[in-house]
């Protein structure tokens, strides 16, 4: 297990998504020591599960590759995966962090050769594909994962599978005796980059995500479009594998809604416009309907919206869909009223994609330290937060570009604190 060498001049970055990686890298590349703590077994966060970015329609893995290379090459950064910050005490310039390390059951000897996965039989829902595919009980989270090391699912520990995996490993990389442990180390400033999670679509009961197979979320759709995803990049309906050509996007699914999230999640409009490209690129005879309250293509993204709007096979309906029902063939039917001039509709689609919003992934009660948040649970910049600075989507619903911008600024805020420590000590 990685040794953590840290002092009061060290910056702790909590969360290894794109914001956390950025903050860690910007600080480390300016010569600061950084400990980067990530809960999942790999870095990259939600961005690694995206197929393309708006508005360029380029691939997030491209930037991921660069960032991972930067991390691999930078000796200033210590990465702890499967780790969670459970305690933070002290004051700016002199904190003590407590980090819980969950066993991976695989050590740094792992060469990612994959022999363990071949022999393990147990299969589980693949969280990387939001449960739309299965993975083995010994698995590489995804093909770009960093660290490039396998993980043993705790559910196989104590079973024959675990033993088989251990025996298959030629490099003594599997350690079934690993236990959860807690470590403590000092740090001078903390960057809180715990990001977001998709709002639980099952809670949006009128849309029947929990009842209808052909109602999925935008994050699931993103996996579906990815050639490395559960359907090999084919846009099909979960119920019967039929090509999904007539697709509805429902905006503000959970956002701008007192029943769910008060806030506007900012990115969902652009995400649906982007995903519309996936559909029209996949099928010549595609039909896309976007149901919206306001299309929030912010500032320079307006032309991206106008381009989609100009497509013959895409229609926009200013309406929050009232509810979804299904017909005998499992086709979802969106019901509602086009508010521009009051036209009722009952439109049958092959597939409905809910543009579910973003909520902070850490709730107030789970913060190890007092922190100022707003009604939505996002961290507000406040002097009361001391040497703890939010970065990225922990501070608001942000797109990747804005999140990275914000994280870069957060790195400087943390550097200012540790520079004061260095000044005082030096």
């Amino acid at each position: 297990m990685t040794e953590v060498v840290a002092t009061n001049e060290t910056i702790l970055v909590v969360g290894g998504g794109i914001s956390g990686m950025t903050a860690a890298l910007e600080a480390a590349e300016t010569g600061k020591r950084v400990v980067l703590v990530e809960k999942r077994p790999f870095l990259g966060g939600r961005v690694s599960q995206l197929y393309k970015y708006f508005p360029k329609l380029c691939h997030p893995t491209c930037g991921q590759e660069i960032n991972q290379r930067r991390i691999k090459m930078n000796p200033n950064i210590t990465v702890l995966t499967m780790a969670e910050v459970t305690g933070l005490e002290g004051e700016p310039g002199a904190y003590t962090a407590t980090v819980k390390l969950t066993p991976r059951y695989v050590n740094d000897n792992c060469t990612a050769c994959g022999e363990c996965a071949k022999v393990v039989e147990a299969e589980f829902d693949n969280e990387f594909d939001y449960g739309m595919s299965k993975r083995k009980g010994a698995y590489l989270p995804h093909v770009m994962a960093h660290p490039m090391q396998y993980v043993l699912d705790p559910r196989i520990i104590g079973t024959d599978d675990a033993q088989k995996a251990k025996e298959a490993c030629k490099y003594d990389a599997i350690d079934l005796d690993m236990e959860e442990r807690e470590i403590q180390f000092p740090c001078g400033a903390v960057i809180w980059a715990t990001g977001w999670k998709p709002y639980d679509a099952a809670k949006i009961q009128p849309y029947g995500y929990d009842r209808f197979e052909n109602v999925i979320t935008n994050v699931e759709f993103e996996r579906m479009a990815d050639p490395k995803g559960p359907t090999g990049g084919k846009i099909i309906r979960p119920s019967d594998g039929k090509e999904a050509k007539n697709i509805a996007f429902i905006q503000c699914a959970g956002s701008r809604d007192r029943n769910h999230l008060f806030h506007c999640s900012r990115i969902c409009c652009m995400a649906s416009l982007k995903q519309t490209h996936y559909v029209v690129d996949a099928y010549e005879d595609a039909q896309v309907t976007i149901y919206y309250i306001d299309i929030r293509a912010i500032d320079r993204f307006e032309d991206f919206y106008q381009n989609v709007r100009a497509m013959d096979n895409v229609s926009f309906v200013k309406s929050k869909v009232a509810n979804i029902i299904t017909d005998k063939d499992g086709n979802p039917i969106c019901r509602g009223v086009d508010t521009e001039g009051y036209h009722r509709y009952e439109n049958t689609h092959d597939l409905v994609v809910l543009a579910t919003g973003m909520e902070p992934s850490v709730s107030k009660s789970d913060f190890p330290v007092d922190i100022v948040i707003n009604r939505e649970g996002f961290i507000e910049p406040d002097p009361a937060n001391g040497g703890v600075f939010a970065a990225g989507s922990a501070s608001d619903a942000l797109d990747v570009n804005r999140a990275v911008q914000h994280a870069t600024g957060a790195a400087l805020k943390a550097i200012q604190v540790v520079n004061r420590v260095a000044g005082a000590e030096g």
Binding site: I18, E26, E29, T30, G31, Y51, K56, C58, H59, P60, T61, C62, G63, Q64, I66, N67, R70, K72, M73, N109, T111, A112, C113, V143, M144, D226, P227, R256, F262, H263, R266, D294, R296, A297, I298, D299, R300, E302, K318, E340, G341, Y342, K364, N374, R375, F378, E380, D396, L398, N401, Q405, H406, T408, G409, A410, A411, L412, K413, I415, Q416
Partner: protein, 765 residues
């Protein structure tokens, strides 16, 4: 380090390499063909023991050039980290055994592949040197900030708080920019934790303008020097040694050195007078910028209409006036914050003119994003601001007040609304200097004569209309290149501070339209990057994306023909020409992509660890079987950031890669020298594939134009092939994304088919 090169090879036999390949043969290849002075194997080279073995060879045997044959150069980077020596890596795992099926029938070709990769890596390292910093720059903890608005001031305060000195250059007579003129500002924060959803809940309201406080902080900060009524009249040098002339209106000039530069030159309001349908010519039709002035003049009292001074009792806000439309004379984008501004201003009226002042906002798509935005929308509604989706056709006036003609999209009817005052939500236009590439890019498709004419016309136009902000004395123009519509934003989503002029970062509304909150966040990020650029320049390291790279371009002066291709093609405008018209590389401006190397027709440009030879010798050291063996050879030059990882991942996910392919990662396709192509053709390769990033408007090349340059250069390769009597199909350039895991191997397969069709190369000797 001693001058003598001492070569050592290390071969890993783990991960199946030892099972699948004849390791003895590999060792022999390394020592005999690869001329390595020693060769050691280890069953797990990345283990502590394996790494110790290598370290021992370096420390005790004096090995200073090492070749590691194991997994991909992308794997086990932390383990194989030997910064003091030159190192090459032969990719036997992802590149060979994982890319090829098992079985006797494949054994021969698989072993050949592995042997070739060993030869290639040995050849590469033989021609490599350990890069060392040039020492051309020192540590300069001084930052130049152009623009004294909120963005510039924030950048200065944040950089100062990290220990850097800052000079702010402001063209006006006072700090603060537009924001200082606002009556109040949009709230930054959403409703606090615990706020109930009730009609009377306290939601965010317009906040008192606090720019004056910011100005006071700047003025009180002893690390910040402010130059008012001043402009930057000349900027030269490079990160770590920028020199700028700051000239005041009175003509006095001071010159100072800077480590890095921040351009926070802000924005200007769109000229709505150019669109008479909005009726701005009438006194009671004002822009949202002008309304701020009216509101300030009123103090906390009622806002009066300009025509006759009557207290305003009804206001209509026309959203997106002249914005977000594909119409002649309109801005194709919108400010993104106009709806928040109008809510703020409607609330001025509710507060100052009384609750019975009616305010109607005619929006298109109401854009109040995020948590604070949506709460502010609710806040406006609570105070009875009326919102409707309306398409405004015309604003007219008969003198006092004005009438808005619009279509109410909800009620589906045409309306004429008479009000005391109409406020136009106008767009934000970036305050950029002239785009160094504007002329070239838009006229690329024209004929040569038209191009010349267009260039001249544009030159004369830009000369009168756009003033330079930075006055860079760069070979490629005076200012930062622009992305779209005059904004000097980064092209990359993951890297918002990517800049095409190293060490110079834009922030605030010159990048994209934004409000005070965003501008302050952005300025903080830009300050971070500026500080980092200064730090990197001091240590001689490259900045993003090849962070930490100490190599830099050098050239053999005696061979240089002064053709200027390098100075013209450098995507970062790094290269100037000196008085004798030789290239001046300014390495801290350089991003180490090698485009200059690829551009140079006489092959005089090189990097310590990346040169014509480090690649050229690799391809020459591949064994080319004679034609009777019927084993073609396909050279693949793959961009190390996208295509190479795609091939790696293809192997990892079980895809086969052609046994005829020999893949060489390159920094960028822009660095590919034509000589490599002709050399490979002459050596008997049957095909060459270049895999680079997407080009065009949505280019994905991290060195901006490298991929484009390669494609352009290769267009001319056809002629060369023809003189050699070779089919042009033998050399292709593909755009390959990192996600092309299935496609990348398929492209190689397609080349196999081409070779099958046109036959093997006649140049096999």
């Amino acid at each position: 380090m001693s001058d003598e090169k001492k070569f050592a090879a290390f071969i890993c036999t783990g991960c199946g390499i030892g099972d699948r390949l004849d390791v003895k043969q590999l060792e022999m290849t390394a020592t005999r063909d690869g001329k390595m002075q020693s060769c050691q194997t280890h069953e797990m080279l990345c283990s502590k023991e394996g790494v110790a073995m290598i370290q021992n060879a370096i420390d005790n045997d004096g090995a200073n050039h090492i070749m590691i044959a194991a997994c991909s150069r992308r794997a086990k980077v932390e383990a194989f980290h030997f910064p003091t020596v030159a190192m090459s890596r032969a990719n036997l795992r992802e590149g060979v055994i994982w890319a090829r099926p098992e079985g006797d029938e494949h054994q021969e070709t698989t072993q050949e592949m592995a042997d070739d990769y060993i030869r290639m890596a040995c050849a590469e390292v033989r021609f490599m040197e350990v890069p060392e910093p040039s020492g051309e720059q020192g540590e300069v903890k001084n930052i130049l900030i152009v623009g004294g608005g909120v963005s510039g001031m924030t950048a200065a305060l944040e950089a100062a708080a990290a220990g850097f000195h800052c000079h702010i250059v402001e063209k006006e007579g006072q700090l603060g920019g537009w924001a200082a003129k606002w009556h109040k500002r949009i709230p930054f924060r959403a409703a606090p934790e615990g706020t109930p959803n009730s009609l009377t809940a306290h939601l965010p309201e317009p906040v008192d303008n606090d720019v004056a406080e910011l100005i006071a902080q700047v003025e009180a900060n002893d690390k910040i020097t402010v130059h008012l009524n001043a402009r930057v009249t000349r900027t030269s040098g490079a990160p770590g040694r920028f020199s700028a002339d700051i000239t005041t209106e009175s003509g006095q000039t001071v010159t100072e050195n800077y480590g890095a530069i921040i351009q926070a030159s802000g924005w200007k309001p769109f000229d709505i007078d150019s669109l008479p349908e909005y009726g701005h010519q009438h006194p009671d039709v004002v822009t949202n910028v002008e309304l701020e002035e009216l509101a300030r003049q009123a103090g906390d009292g009622p806002i009066k209409r300009p025509s006759d001074g009557k207290e305003v009792k009804s206001v209509a806000f026309v959203q997106n006036a002249g914005q977000a439309a594909d119409k002649e004379g309109y801005l194709p984008y919108h400010s993104g914050i106009g709806d928040l501004v109008s809510i703020k201003q409607a609330l001025y009226f509710k507060a100052q003119n009384g609750e019975d002042c009616d305010t109607t906002i005619l929006y298109n798509n109401l854009r109040t994003p995020g948590a604070a935005g949506e709460d502010f929308y609710r806040s406006g509604q609570q105070k009875m601001v009326i919102f409707t989706k309306g398409e405004v056709n015309e604003v007219t006036s008969g003198g006092n007040g004005a009438t808005v003609k619009f279509k109410d999209k909800i009620l589906d009817e045409d309306v004429e609304l008479a009000v005391d005052l109409v406020v136009l939500d106008i767009g934000m236009v970036p305050n950029s200097g002239p785009d160094p590439y504007a002329a070239n890019e838009s006229i690329e498709d024209m004929s040569d004569e038209d191009q010349q004419a267009a260039k001249e016309e544009m030159a004369s136009e830009t000369a009168v209309t756009v003033e330079s902000i930075l006055n860079l004395d760069y070979r490629q123009g005076t200012d930062l290149p622009q992305l779209k519509w005059g904004f000097t934003d980064s092209h990359f989503i993951c890297f918002p501070y990517e800049t095409r002029r190293t060490g110079i970062y834009a922030c605030g509304p010159v990048r994209r339209p934004m409000d005070i909150k965003q501008a302050q966040d952005d300025a903080t990020g830009a300050a971070m990057k500026a500080i980092q650029a200064a730090v990197h320049a001091a240590s001689g390291e490259a900045v993003h994306p090849r962070v930490g790279d100490l190599s830099y371009p050098r050239f053999r002066k005696e061979g240089c023909t002064q053709c200027k291709r390098c100075t013209v093609e450098c995507p970062f405008g790094a290269i100037n020409e000196d008085e004798e018209r030789y290239p001046q590389f300014n390495e801290s401006r350089c991003r180490r992509c090698g485009t200059c190397m690829g551009a140079c027709p006489v092959r005089v440009i090189s990097f310590a660890n990346y040169s014509i030879d480090t690649v050229g010798q690799q391809l020459k050291n591949v064994e080319i079987p004679d034609e009777f063996e019927e084993k073609p050879r396909i050279l693949v030059l793959a961009c190390e950031n996208d295509a190479y990882p795609a091939l790696d991942q293809a192997a990892m996910s079980g895809q086969e890669i052609s046994p005829w392919a020999r893949v060489i990662p390159v920094r960028c396709l822009g660095s590919v020298s034509l000589s490599w192509i002709t050399d490979s053709m002459n050596s008997g390769y049957d095909g060459v594939i270049m895999m680079g990033c997407k080009r065009g408007d949505d280019y994905q090349c991290h060195f901006v134009r490298g991929s484009t340059m390669a494609a352009e250069r290769m267009r001319k390769v056809g002629d060369t092939l023809q003189t050699l009597n070779l089919e042009p199909d033998r050399v292709v350039v593909h755009e390959v994304a990192i996600t092309d895991i299935e496609r990348a191997p398929r492209l190689i397969k397609e080349m196999e088919e081409v070779i099958e069709r046109v036959g093997l190369s006649p140049f096999k000797f």
